[in-house]
Amino acid sequence: MPNEMLQLFWTCGIFAVLIFIIGFYCLLATYNLIRALIGVELLIKAVTLLIVVAGFVSGHMALAQALVITLIVIEVVVMTVAAGVILNVYMHNKSLDVRELRNLKG
């Protein structure tokens, strides 16, 4: 494999890890359900970037695109259902704060 391609993969891999860190930190630090969902979305973005770069570097771009399309479809469905769950939680609790979700405690 050419050295420039490896360099590109390495660089994009580092940036993908950084986006992953941002999303993961958001999941750990936030108390708002919508912001947690945005954090999950960022995690998916990091994975998408990594798949595209891996496909470009290895020359399997068609396969990588097929995987990314599958990933996007799953992402949309997950986001839609999660948004529905968040709306339901809001209707029940009148709050989006995860600290107030104590209905199932114990």
Binding site: M1, I34, I38, K45, G55, A62, V77, M79, V85
Partner: protein, 158 residues
């Protein structure tokens, strides 16, 4: 050029997380998606890029904005108190990202990737409809599951 786009991508992702307003967060996420789309075009993945732009930057942003508008925003006083608490939790994030970036870039690049490539499919349609046909069925089932999930979740109570 790719490096510049990647840096802007990280900045957009950071802004998405750091900004106080949820609406701005949703817009930041759309911006992150749009920048990822530019990268995909540059990496010769036009079909995935079009999907990313239309679905992730468009549809999901609309979904987030609709969810945000359907939930009641905080009052000014609450928002001010919440902001102070948020800053204390989130100011670490840029520092962590910068430090992690420096640490990762200092790592020695030890990549010996040998790709098994017996036959390389050039056309994404051939891959989707022939090679990864099972994925299509999976996608259909996932979409149906999502539709039924939303219908059940938002069903009016009798």
């Amino acid at each position: 050029m790719n490096i510049f786009i990647l840096i802007v991508l990280i900045a957009a992702a950071l802004w998405t997380m750091m900004t106080r307003s949820l609406l701005r967060s949703a817009i930041g996420l759309a911006l992150t998606s749009a920048l990822l789309t530019v990268l995909m075009f540059r990496f010769q993945a036009p079909l995935a890029a079009v999907f990313e732009l239309s679905v992730c930057a468009g549809l999901i942003s609309v979904l987030f904005i609709a969810t945000i508008s359907l939930t009641q925003p905080l009052s000014k006083q609450e928002a001010l108190e919440y902001m102070k608490e948020r800053i204390s939790r989130f100011w670490y994030l840029p520092v962590i990202v910068v430090l992690a970036g420096i640490a990762l870039s200092l790592l020695p690049m030890k990549l010996e990737l040998t790709m098994p490539s017996p036959e390389i499919e050039k056309d994404v349609r051939m891959v989707l409809w022939n090679l990864r046909q099972f994925d299509i069925f999976g996608q259909i089932i996932v979409i149906l599951a999502g539709v039924f999930g939303v219908v059940i979740l938002l069903k009016e109570r009798q």
